[in-house]
Subunit: 360 residues, 2 copies
DNA sequence: ATGAAAGCGCTAACAC
DNA sequence: GTGTTAGCGCTTTCAT
C-alpha cells in the first residue's frame, strides 16, 4: 500500500469523476481522446478537473501506457560552456512537446555515464547523448532498446547531430593565410573526441592545400591551464598564429602569451572554437562558431520525431547494412538520420596581419 | 492495457519470481529489505534477477510507494554561467543518494517556471529552486506540498541556501579604499534579485562606514551589453573603480572601457562577482567568489535531509510562527533551515592603485 | 457517447 | 522467513 503520506498531493481521477458525476473512463478520455466524447461532457469534466486542481499522475499513466513523457540528456560536463546553451535549447524544445528532461552529468567518465543511463533508462523514452564518452558497443546496445540521438559522435545507423566545424576551420585557415601567416599551431583537444578528430583532419587538409604548415600541440583535457601552459610549445614551433580546440583553451593561450609580452593580435593571431566565451571577453575572440544551441534544438527535434514514429529509434538488428556511408544531410525520418550543423568563422579582435619575425 | 510494444524492455518481477521459484514479494524484498530474508534466498534471487537482466520498473514502484527517486532543479537560465557549476554539483550529490534530477529552465519567466513546476511536480519528490522568479505565494504553496529548497531567495520558514556576498563585497570596498579610490560605482543587477538587494545594501553600508561614495548604476537584466553600455554613466559619475553585479557585466564594462582608451587596472579598477568567468579571461578579473558549486552541493544535501525526515519539508500550516527571523547559520534539520555560504574577494588582475584624476 | 472491469509492475500489510 | 492478497491511479478493451 501507499498509505504513507509521502504521497503526491492527491486529487485522483476518481475524485474528478465523482465530482463531475461521470465514470473514471470518461475523465480519462476527456484528457486523452476528447473527440470520443460529447463536447459538453469534455467541457464539464475539464472544468471540474481544473476546479479540483487535478494533475494526472505520471507514474500511473506510465505504468499503464508504457510512455513516461520524459527524456534524458547526458553531457560529460555541464560546466563546460559548450553544453549549457545546448541543454537549454533542448529543454525548451522538449517542453513544447510536453516532455520533461532529466539531466545527467557524467563527469567525463564513461563508467559514470553508463551508470547514469542505466539509472535513467527505466523512466525515459529516449536519450540525447552529447559528446558521449561511452564505448560504441554500449551506445549501440542502448540504441537497440530505445531512441537515442547522439551529438558530436558519428555512429552509423544511429541518429546524430554533428557540428561540422570544417566550414569555419577552412575559413580560419584561409583568413590566416591572407593575413600573411605561414606557420600555424593547433592546440588539440582530447584524442577520443569526434570534434577534435574532425578539426585535426580538416586543418591538415586545408593547410596543405593552402601551402601552410600546421604544428599540432597536444593539450589533453582542454582547459584554461592547458592553453596557458602550451604557450612555450607554441613559441618553440615558430608559429605566428594558433587555432585552439575551444575558447577556453584559447583564453589560456591568450593569458600565456601576455605573460611573455606577446601581444594579440599585434604580434600573434589567435582563433578559438565554439564561440562560447569569445564574445564575452575583452579582447573579443575570433572564433569558429559552433551553434551549440542549434544542435540542442536539432537533437530535440530529432528525438521527438523518433518518438513519434512508433518503432523507429531502435536500430536494425545487424548494424552494417546502412546506405552509402559518409553521406551528409538529413536522412528523412530514418532511425539513422544525420543532421549536420554548419559553422563559420566569426572574426573579432584576435586576428591580424602577420608581423614576420616578431615571434620566436 | 499496455500491450503496445512501446513498453519497457520487459522482465518483470513475476518473471524473476518464477525463475527463482519464489514469490514476487520475496523478489521485491530481496531488493528493498534483504535483511528480512535468509542470505541464501537473497543471493539466489539477486543472481536470478541479474541473469534475466531484470530492472525494476520505476513507474510501478513509484505508483506503489509514492516515492519516485527523482528531484528537480529549476533555474532561470542554464546558459548563465552562474548556474552550470551549481547544477553540476547538485546532480553529482543527488546521484550519490540515488536520486535522478530533472532540469527545468524557466527562461527567466515566472509563468514558465510555474508551468515547469506543475509539469514536474507529479514525478518528483522535491524541488531545488535556484533564484526563482516565482511569487512568494506560489513558492509557499509548493512548499506546503513537498520539500523545497531555495537558492538565493530568502523566504522565512522555507529551506534555503544563500550565497552571502557581504563578506566579499566588504573586502572589495576595503581593498579599493586602501588603493586610494574614493568614488565607486555599482553596476546593479535586477531589482527583484535577492543577491542584488543584498549587494546594494552591503555596499551602501560598508562604503558609508569607509567614507567612500558609491553611485548605483542600474543595468536591468545583467549582460555583457548592459555592462558595456553603462560605461558612459560610469565615466560621468566620476568613479575610479566599479563593482559589477556579476562577471558577465564586468566583462562588458571592461570592453566598454577599452573602447574609450581607459585601461584596466592602470586607469580604472574593476571588481566582478561570482567568479564565473573571472579566472578564464585575460586579464583575469578581480571578483567576489560565489561558490555556486558549494551552493549546489549544499542545496542537494539539504533537500536530501528533508526527504529523509518523513514529514519535514512541508511548511507548517500558518506561516508566521517561525523563530526569531533574520538568524544566520544552520537550523538543524528543520524545514526552514537556512545555510549561508560565505564569500571572499579574489584579487586578480583588474584592481590597482587609483591614479587620481585620470578618469573623467 | 458512456460505463464496468481488468490489469500495467510493484510494495506492504497480513497471514502462516 | 516466505507466501497471499490487496491495491497505488491510470488507460483501455468490451459492453451497453
Amino acid at each position: 500500500m501507499a498509505s504513507r503520506l509521502g504521497r503526491v498531493a492527491g486529487v485522483t481521477i476518481g475524485d474528478v469523476a465523482a465530482a463531475a458525476r461521470v465514470s473514471r473512463s470518461t475523465v480519462s478520455r476527456a484528457f486523452t481522446r476528447p473527440q470520443l466524447l460529447s463536447p459538453a461532457t469534455v467541457e464539464h469534466v475539464l472544468t471540474t478537473a481544473a476546479r479540483l486542481g487535478y494533475v494526472g499522475n505520471q507514474a500511473a499513466r506510465a505504468l499503464s501506457t508504457g510512455r513516461f513523457g520524459n527524456i534524458a540528456v547526458v553531457v560529460p560536463d555541464i560546466a563546460n560552456p559548450f553544453f549549457p546553451p545546448l541543454v537549454r535549447s533542448l529543454q525548451l524544445a522538449a517542453e513544447s512537446a510536453d516532455l520533461a528532461v532529466f539531466l545527467g552529468d557524467s563527469d567525463e567518465s564513461a563508467e559514470r555515464e553508463a551508470k547514469l543511463i542505466a539509472r535513467l533508462a527505466p523512466q525515459v523514452e529516449g536519450f540525447v547523448l552529447a559528446s558521449p564518452r561511452l564505448s560504441e558497443q554500449l551506445i549501440r546496445e542502448l540504441a537497440a532498446t530505445r531512441p537515442v540521438v547522439l551529438v558530436n559522435r558519428d555512429l552509423d545507423g544511429i541518429a546524430r547531430v554533428l557540428i561540422d566545424s570544417s566550414g569555419g576551420m577552412t575559413e580560419a585557415v584561409l583568413l590566416l593565410k591572407k593575413l600573411g601567416h605561414q606557420r600555424l599551431a593547433y592546440l588539440a583537444g582530447p584524442r577520443d573526441s569526434w570534434s577534435d578528430g574532425q578539426r585535426r583532419t580538416t586543418l591538415a587538409r586545408v593547410s596543405e592545400q593552402a601551402g601552410l604548415t600546421v604544428e599540432v600541440i597536444e593539450t589533453g583535457r582542454p582547459s584554461y591551464a592547458a592553453g596557458r601552459d602550451s604557450v612555450a610549445a607554441i613559441v618553440r614551433s615558430g608559429a605566428t598564429a594558433a587555432i585552439a580546440f575551444d575558447d577556453v583553451v584559447s583564453q589560456g593561450v591568450l593569458a600565456g602569451l601576455e605573460v611573455r609580452g606577446i601581444s594579440v593580435p599585434a604580434d600573434f593571431s589567435l582563433v578559438g572554437c565554439d564561440d562560447t566565451l569569445a564574445a564575452l571577453t575583452s579582447p573579443a575572440l575570433t572564433t569558429v562558431s559552433a551553434g551549440a544551441a542549434s544542435a540542442g534544438a536539432a537533437a530535440a527535434k530529432l528525438l521527438i520525431s523518433l518518438l513519434e514514429t512508433p518503432d523507429s529509434g531502435r536500430t536494425a538488428a545487424g548494424g552494417s547494412a546502412g546506405p552509402a556511408p559518409g553521406h551528409g544531410g538529413d536522412v528523412g525520418g530514418a532511425g539513422g538520420a544525420c543532421v549536420r550543423i554548419g559553422t563559420h568563422l566569426v572574426v573579432r579582435g584576435t586576428t591580424a596581419v602577420a608581423r614576420a619575425g616578431v615571434v620566436t
